[in-house]
């Protein structure tokens, strides 16, 4: 992520961050988003349920 892209995102989100801290935030976001930008979303399932029900349990499910 470039500083220019960071500023664009700040403008869109209506967020202000001190100019002297932008490089740190840029690095934080770059690290956080690296695996996301590296993923090929076509290779991941898109069937995640919003809720699950298990007839074997009285109520709810822990989802594991």
């Amino acid at each position: 992520m470039t500083l220019e892209e960071l500023r664009d995102r700040m403008k869109a989100a209506r967020v202000e961050i001190a100019e002297n801290r932008l490089e740190l935030v840029r690095r934080l976001l770059t690290d956080a988003l690296r695996p996301i930008h590296a993923m090929d979303s076509r290779k991941h399932r898109t069937l995640e349920p919003a809720v699950t029900f298990d007839a074997g349990r009285p109520r709810g499910d822990h989802g594991q």
Partner: protein, 462 residues
């Protein structure tokens, strides 16, 4: 004044002294309150010491013991609560100026459960601001110090919990863990911390940081003490939508079964990047001990492990979503570090957040597949020993990538256990992770290792 021997006793040992009338809960509580008064001004582990409440709790425990009530191992045991747990009628700050005067009207479920077990409430323990941002000098709430080296951080965000236990100021504590906030302080302070399975312990009444990653759990000086605390904490709670109805097993009785025949998988990719040589040496020695104790130790690979870094995107986005109103209306009431980190969450797109959750689902599937072949995973808890305050106060110091976040992504139970010291005397720690709701095996491995070593007998020179 509490002697070191008494202050560092185990919960089992204290219970035995109570039963044979060699010690009373009131005597013990008075001794700890005096120790806190003497040592805490130099450690800053407590935000609020509830001396009157502690003595009242201790008196009630003493009365119960006098009736011959030995039903709870926590009866009369002094504990502290991280200051993000709501406590009825008692200041709960979250380490934030926003909540500096907040007096909750209800207790968090975990607090209620320890109180039902007869625990004595010593007070509220300092936390990083909203369990996220370290306190810079001048912050309204001074940062806790590491009892092993006062120039170093005790870790966070359950910083007061870790430091108080290491200093012998409490016998148990509650922490919370969104990316390692129980296990990090446990690692840096040379104590034990358990992040249970997501849904195992209630989060009701605990301040939110990132609700799909937040966990509550116990911290103590030994694995068995953690097991006693977990026994009281675990179980369904209708007030927490994520709480599981999974049955609660006996966590204490199986501790002595050893590790012979258990399979330990060592994950080297990701968890050894940038590792300190002394951390690596201590970890390898711990593996050798587990082998000697009869466990099978083998390297394993988790295909999607590099995606664990997406954890930060989820954390930032959810933290901003939760705190957005106050961040926009009262930005000056946040410390600058926590404000910047949370505002960064506003810059993550909806698509990026969704993709991070999809990577998380894949990582969970990959880890669960590996845990069908081995019983537990082992990694260093932290790739480096406790950093100095000078290091973390450097304006260039970034958001550290730790070894704990991957297990918040997957929700698996993970235990930090001391595994040695650096040449400079800083604690080292091994992280044991298990299958969903298999805290029993995780605790058993940790306890067996702990009992085969003597690390727990070392204490900081205060």
């Amino acid at each position: 004044m509490a002697s070191d021997e008494l202050s560092y006793a185990t919960i089992r040992d204290i219970g035995a002294r109570f039963r044979r009338r060699a010690l009373s809960p009131v005597e013990l509580t008075r001794a700890l309150l005096e120790r806190i008064e003497r040592l805490d001004p130099g450690l800053h582990t407590f935000v609020t010491v509830t001396a009157d409440r502690a003595l009242a709790d201790a008196k009630a425990a003493e009365t119960a013991l006098g009736r011959g009530d030995f039903s709870s191992p926590l009866l009369g045991i002094p504990v502290g609560y991280k200051d993000i747990y709501a406590t009825r009628g008692i200041l709960t700050t979250g380490g934030s100026a926003l909540l500096a005067d907040w007096i909750p009207t209800e207790d968090a479920t975990c607090v209620t459960r320890l109180q039902r077990g007869g625990a004595v409430m010593l007070g509220k323990l300092i936390t990083h601001e909203f369990a996220f941002g370290i306190q810079f000098p001048g912050h309204r709430f001074a940062a806790a110090k590491n009892p092993w080296d006062l120039e170093r951080m005790p870790g966070g965000s359950s910083s007061g919990s870790g430091a108080a236990l290491a200093a012998g100021l409490a016998f148990g504590a509650l922490g919370s863990d969104t990316g390692g906030s129980i296990r990090g302080p446990a690692s840096f302070c040379g104590i034990v911390g358990l992040k249970p399975t997501y849904g195992r312990c209630s989060r009701a009444g605990v301040l939110t940081l990132s609700w799909t990653l937040d966990h509550t759990g116990p911290m103590a000086r030994t694995v068995e003490d953690c097991a006693y605390l977990l026994q009281a904490l675990a179980g369904h709670d209708a007030a927490d939508p994520a709480a599981s109805r999974e049955l609660v097993p006996d966590y204490v009785a199986p501790l002595g079964r050893g590790v012979r025949g258990l399979r330990v998988g060592v994950v080297r990719e990701y968890f050894f990047e940038g590792i300190d040589p002394e951390v690596e040496k201590g970890f390898e020695q711990a593996l050798a001990t587990l082998r000697q104790l009869g466990a099978t130790v083998e390297d394993v690979q988790i295909p999607g492990i590099q995606a664990a870094g997406a954890y930060t995107a989820i954390l930032l986005a959810e933290a901003f979503a939760y705190h957005e109103h106050d961040l926009r209306e009262h930005p000056e009431r946040f410390g600058e570090i926590v404000r910047e980190r949370m505002l960064a969450g506003a810059l993550i797109t909806a698509s990026e957040y969704v993709q991070a959750q999809r990577l998380r689902a894949q990582l969970r599937a990959d880890m669960n597949a590996v845990l069908r072949r081995v019983d537990v995973l082992a990694t260093p808890t932290s790739p480096k020993p406790a950093p100095t305050f000078t290091t973390v106060y450097d304006p260039e110091y970034g958001f550290p990538r730790g070894n704990t976040g991957p297990f918040n992504m997957t929700g698996l139970p993970a235990l930090a256990v001391p595994c040695g010291f650096t040449a400079a005397g800083l604690p080292l720690s091994i992280q044991i992770t298990g299958r969903p709701f298999d805290e029993t095996t995780v605790l058993r491995v940790g306890h067996t290792y702990e009992q085969a070593t003597s690390w727990r007998t070392r204490h900081p020179n205060l």
